[in-house]
Symmetry: C2
Subunit: 345 residues, 2 copies
């Protein structure tokens, strides 16, 4: 089987050459273990921290030469555990490899592999609308953002997995959704998803577009980005606006201090002048309650979940790298690694 291992720690944004494809022997399911065949790999932007020598997060840094760890959807192909049977489909964190053996009873804090119901939704959505990104969008809009009907919500990285769901949740709640994305194609896709207005951060008149999109400002800013985009958004927020913060992709490539002039004084001024409420949160800590609501809204046709799928484990390094360079995909970027043997998926 093939797997993707870390060849070099990333400097700045990860490059395909930071990874290496290896051929290794197929693992076997030992006592209490299950053997999983990977169907989909999510090239999650948060994995950026695992490949950085300077990380300060608790997520832990990868060792060079080890396969990348991250969320996947996989099929059980052999089981020595009573709770799992061949053809079951699960969400797990086995990472960037075609097969993996693991012991569900010795899983990390995220819990054992989550069994999926293919009748509920396509299993790939377990990595998107019905997985971590969906939880993050729900937590940000419903619990941290506390969005009410009639409010305007502006969302950065709106064409991404979190942003595209978040904007649709805003619409379900009766709010007005303004999406920020890079390029005309992504902006058009957001309008197609039901966003009320968009602004293209790659356009020279981004600030003017944003002002036109939300002439009275915004009550909530769901930020996934930081950097130039956020410094353009903040002056347009209403007094007392809430700012749920679930990521900062503009800074994933730098440590505690970035290369430019110090923008923290300006950030402080804007927080004070606007009386902003900012809260950092992690969707994976939010529990599964939000996913039930999202599943219901998807069934009712109120939320659609776009996916961009590329094929083959060899495509993973380039797909991961593209996440940080403003790629053209809309929704969750997935790599399809294998076809299911059973009927489950």
């Amino acid at each position: 089987m093939k797997r993707v291992v870390l060849a070099a720690y990333a400097r700045g944004n990860p490059k395909p050459g930071d990874f290496r494809i290896e051929q290794v022997a197929l693992p076997e399911a030992g006592e209490g273990e299950i053997l999983l065949k990977t169907l989909y790999i999510a090239v999650d932007p948060l994995l950026r921290f695992s490949v950085d020598e300077t990380v300060l997060t608790g997520a832990g840094r990868m060792e060079l030469g080890m396969p990348m760890v991250g969320p996947v959807v996989a099929e059980v192909v052999a089981s020595n555990h009573p709770a799992y049977a061949p053809a079951d489909v699960v969400e797990a964190r086995t990472g960037w490899q075609e097969y993996a053996a693991l012991a569900p009873d010795r899983s990390d804090y995220r819990g054992p592999p989550r069994k999926l119901d293919p009748a509920l939704a396509p299993v790939s959505t377990a990595l998107g609308a019905l997985g971590g990104p969906g939880q993050t969008a729900y937590e940000g809009i419903v619990n941290v953002g506390r969005v009410k009907a009639g409010e305007t919500v502006v969302i950065s990285a709106a064409a991404g997995a979190v942003g595209s769901i978040a904007g649709q949740i805003v619409k379900v709640l009766g709010g007005r959704a303004v999406g920020i994305a890079g390029g005309a194609a992504k902006c058009a896709a957001l309008l197609d998803l039901g966003f009320d207005a968009v602004a293209d951060y790659k356009a020279p008149d981004f600030a003017a577009q944003l002002q036109t999109a939300m002439p009275e400002g915004a009550d909530v800013y769901l930020d996934n980005v930081g950097g130039d985009v956020t410094m353009t958004v903040l002056p347009l927020l209403k007094r007392g606006a809430r700012m749920p913060m679930c990521g900062f992709i503009a800074y994933y490539g730098v440590g505690m201090e970035g290369p430019g002039p110090d923008r923290l004084p300006g950030f402080y001024r804007l927080i004070m002048n606007k009386g902003l409420e900012i809260r950092g949160f992690a969707g994976m800590l939010a529990g599964r309650k939000g996913l039930e609501d999202i599943a219901g809204w998807m069934k009712a046709g109120r939320i659609r979940f776009p996916e961009s799928i590329v094929e083959g484990i060899e495509a993973v390094p380039a797909a991961f790298s593209s996440v940080f360079s403003g790629h053209d995909h809309v929704g969750k970027l997935l790599v399809r690694v294998g076809a299911p043997a059973g009927p489950g998926a």
Copy 2:
């Protein structure tokens, strides 16, 4: 009479030479006006914004050659207004001058001069515990910080007017108060006021002192400062800590961008990793309810309010400048400008 006018906009921290003392004719109370004799001037750090060419706040910039506007306690010496009588003592925003005539019915958004009750507390406290700083401390600890019994609260600029009251409110609420101040004398004064522990930000082992002062971290950080102090505090906060933000004196001398490397990426990381809740707020918007509680606590002997008083309007420029250079005063820094003619103060 004498007044202090702005001679030059501040570059970096204000210097005494940025101001000039002028001798002008005594004003008279016109129709509907009252004539006020200034008793105390508060050298409020927020006035920093009025003397800066680069300000972005709504407070408005001073014109060169004009007398500085800011909070004072004054005595009514003549009145053509039915609500005010000679010997009344008021809090007003007439600024850095020995006398001023004003029309209460044409006051700005802060409302007409507030009549003080000398029987309740010394009138100078209207510029401190029973004025803007008291409101800010109350809003930060009670409403924004939502401090509960048993929680640990760390306070920057703790020897200042806001901080010294805030720490005592924490004690009233049953919390643990940790104060950050510059120098051994200020730290000793905080312990004397009832703070449970202190850390000296001017000491080379500041970070270690802070860790010793709050070995389990803190639930709330009342920030008035920003800069190095805050970047030392944040890694020690508990997960989900609240951070009411009422000022950022470390940045008052710079515009939107500071001179050093960009610390905004590190700030984002800490917000996310700690799941922090940050909220900017202005005490003056908080209403007068908090002041009733503080007055009651002062009467009950549960809150003391230290004041540092210097004499004479000529002392105002140096006193104001000292606020930004880590002076040795504890509590509210006031300039006594005149003695009351009546018995009111």
